[in-house]
């Protein structure tokens, strides 16, 4: 057991030394101290970024997990102001009993508030509510050697939009104010239906998305030929009647890191076949708690360990609507031929709500995300996938990335130069160094 921190994918394996800060009043001084000792640093929250965007170039991170206090709440208006290390789950624990829910939540509640802003995360309701940043009204930003700057759409607007999705490079986020949405219950009226191929996914998306707050599909990444892109479609709305219960505790744990990945072609094939068949061809309605609906993997602590010592990479791209079907088909073909991938494969339509962030990931189109156990053959597959994404005018998600080329990044995110100009010189991630030089 060591003191070092890694990213969620445990790849690349660059151990980070944490410099802890747990008090707001010490934040500025400690940031200056860490930055001057290390040259550059980077804020590290709860370590849920997959690749190298949360790793400091200097390997000295400014660890803000314990900076997790609420500052002010208003249960009349549904406003929360809190420190950046507070996790979304901790907010839900307090807000749900009072009838408020996160306007946007990613697939885990273990991300920190600061991380959610810095990666401008999105969720199953992107087509309705846009990204997380859309619901961030204000935040405090500490830049090296300066007093705290308050940023909002009307105040320091340039830094506001650069910081949302800005990968933690514009300064240390010292507090965040978010707007919640009212809910009557903590339950979700959910509908699931399995589909036989990719075309059916698009039909279901057209039919169901506009009627539901949440929508997402699971894909069997090993299915080939006329079953290519088969999967299960899930949609949901907040239920009208029921209790307001906060209930989430990890039920299982992966207690150690196995030497090799437990996910291989055989285990995956069995999993996928069984999971697909477990869902009906007919639309099945059920009422479920918000936690299994949004956070199925949160029930298994340290699930990232199942990929063994080498770790894993997540591949998440978004393809613009006009080229989506063809490109996603090509991507799935390449993946199925390689016989790689993982159980969790997510396909989701992103809507056209513009994010306030300069480098926010979602664009109107289809987003595909899946995990791959790290191995030597992976870069060959990724090269193929990257070519498809690039040709289709799509892009990869920095929060998940450990491999994209600098040229692909700069082409897909033309605003990167503005972010570089606004970057605090004392902040630098491995990711940013990799894609900008």
């Amino acid at each position: 057991m060591s003191n070092y921190l890694y990213s969620w994918g445990r790849y690349p394996r660059r151990p980070q030394t944490p410099h802890l800060c747990s008090w707001r009043d010490e934040l500025s001084n400690q940031f200056d101290r860490v930055a001057s000792i290390s040259g550059t640093t980077l804020a590290y929250g709860n370590g849920r970024s997959y690749g190298d965007s949360c790793l400091a170039l200097s390997s000295q991170v400014f660890h803000l997990k314990a900076l997790n206090k609420f500052i002010h709440v208003d249960w009349q208006l549904g406003i929360v102001i809190a420190e950046p290390g507070l996790t979304l789950g901790e907010i839900l624990e307090v807000s749900i009993p009072r009838g408020w829910f996160l306007a946007v939540t990613p697939g885990t509640q273990f991300v920190s508030l600061g991380g959610a802003v810095a990666n401008d995360v999105h969720g199953k309701n992107h087509h309705r509510r846009g990204t997380f940043g859309k619901h961030v009204s204000r935040f405090g930003l500490l830049r090296h050697g300066q007093d705290e700057i308050v940023c909002s759409a009307s105040e320091n607007a340039e830094l506001y939009s650069a910081t949302i999705g800005g990968l933690g490079l514009t300064g240390i986020i010292s507090w965040v104010e978010i707007k919640l949405v009212p809910v009557r219950t903590s339950l979700i009226d959910s509908t699931s239906v399995r589909f036989g191929n990719l075309s059916e996914f698009f039909q279901l998306s057209d039919e169901l998305d506009s009627l539901h707050e949440y929508s997402v599909a699971w894909i069997d990444c090993l299915a080939k030929s006329n079953q290519l892109g088969r999967g299960v479609y899930f949609v949901g709305n907040h239920a009208d009647y029921g209790a307001l219960d906060f209930d989430i505790k990890p039920k299982l744990n992966v207690p150690f890191i196995p030497p090799i990945s437990l996910i291989n072609n055989l285990s995956l094939k069995l999993f996928n076949e069984a999971y697909w068949r477990a869902h009906s061809r007919q639309k099945t309605h059920s009422q479920v708690g918000y936690d299994p609906f949004f956070y199925p993997l949160d029930r298994i602590s340290n699930w990232n360990r199942i990929y063994g010592k080498p770790g894993f990479q997540q591949y998440q791209c978004v393809i613009p609507t006009k080229s989506a079907e063809i490109a996603v088909r090509s991507l799935l073909q390449a993946i199925a031929i390689a016989g790689a991938g993982s159980f969790l494969v997510v396909l989701k339509r992103c809507g056209d709500i513009i994010s306030p962030g300069l480098l926010s990931f979602p664009i109107p189109g289809i987003s595909l995300a899946l995990d791959f156990p790290q191995n030597l053959k992976l870069s060959e597959l990724f090269t193929k996938l990257d070519a498809i994404v690039s040709e289709a005018g799509g892009r990869l998600y920095p929060a998940k990335d450990a491999h994209m080329s600098g040229s692909d990044f700069r082409k897909a995110y033309p605003n990167w130069e503005t972010l570089e100009l606004l970057r605090d010189p004392s902040l630098m991630s491995l990711f940013w160094k990799r894609v900008t030089s």
Binding site: L20, W23, R24, F70
Partner: protein
């Protein structure tokens, strides 16, 4: 709702305990040295559901200020349901060995001041004839070891003193609770962590403490496995113990 006095309210363990109580809508009287940090803790607990939070600035090594603190607390509460004493420092053993002053300071902060507070609070509980006085000691107080016996002896003082109080209040409804956390992941122990020691999460420790205090258990090891570990450590004969590098 329970009325809870916490001394050392900006420590990571007492904060984590207070957050659990805040969820139930408890009322707090928080005591600590640093007013700015205390205000941050107060707004956190209020946001998490605390019914009310009163703060009081006090240096726990200044015994003369104790009666004023208790008066203010009673003015706010009338009756104390739970008093949790959790202030302290993790002593630098090597530095203490070279300095009588430092050793004395550490014993004062972790031992004598706690005993002084308990003396005063015990009399309040004696009047109330109900409530719970809980104090955070440490597994380090169970047996002296070369790596931390200054800290350990201060905590040991608290342990024996608490036993005495338990005996004194045995026939009453007043509960006296001795809490012995194992090494816990807090800012106080960041040095231990960087040496590679495995530390328990502060929320796990707080959960065990709050459950134990609510039940009025006389001794709480947190996490519970430390009861077993310390049982073994206490019974290792000296001729073996003296060979161990712990």
């Amino acid at each position: 709702m329970k009325k809870i006095l916490i001394i050392g309210a900006t420590s990571a363990i007492t904060l984590a305990c207070a957050r659990l109580w805040a969820k139930q809508g408890c009322e707090f009287f928080l005591v600590a040295r640093n007013d700015e940090k205390l205000a941050q803790v107060a707004s956190d607990l209020l946001s998490r559901g605390a019914n009310s939070v009163t703060t009081h600035i006090m240096d726990s090594t200044d015994f003369t200020k104790f009666p004023l603190m208790l008066n203010q607390c009673l003015r706010a509460f009338h009756q104390i349901d739970i008093a949790l004493i959790g202030h302290g420092t993790l002593s630098d053993q090597v530095a203490c060995e070279q300095s009588v002053d430092l050793t004395y300071q550490e014993i004062l902060c972790n031992g004598t001041s706690v005993v002084a507070l308990m003396t005063l609070l015990a009399n309040q509980f004696s009047i109330q004839k109900c409530g719970c006085l809980a104090v955070i000691s440490s597994v380090a107080g169970d047996r002296g070891r070369k790596s931390n016996y200054v800290y350990g002896s201060a905590k040991g003082l608290v342990g024996i003193f608490t036993q005495g109080l338990q005996h004194r209040f045995a026939k009453t409804r007043v509960k006296i609770v001795l809490i012995k956390p194992g090494p816990t992941d807090t800012p106080m122990t960041s040095q231990l962590k960087s040496k590679g020691m495995k530390l328990a999460g502060v929320d796990t420790v707080a959960q065990v403490i709050v459950e134990g205090v609510n039940k009025g258990k006389p001794v709480i090891y947190a996490p519970g496995k430390w009861a077993f570990i310390m049982l073994i450590i206490r019974f290792i004969p000296n001729f073996i113990f003296n060979k161990l590098d712990i």
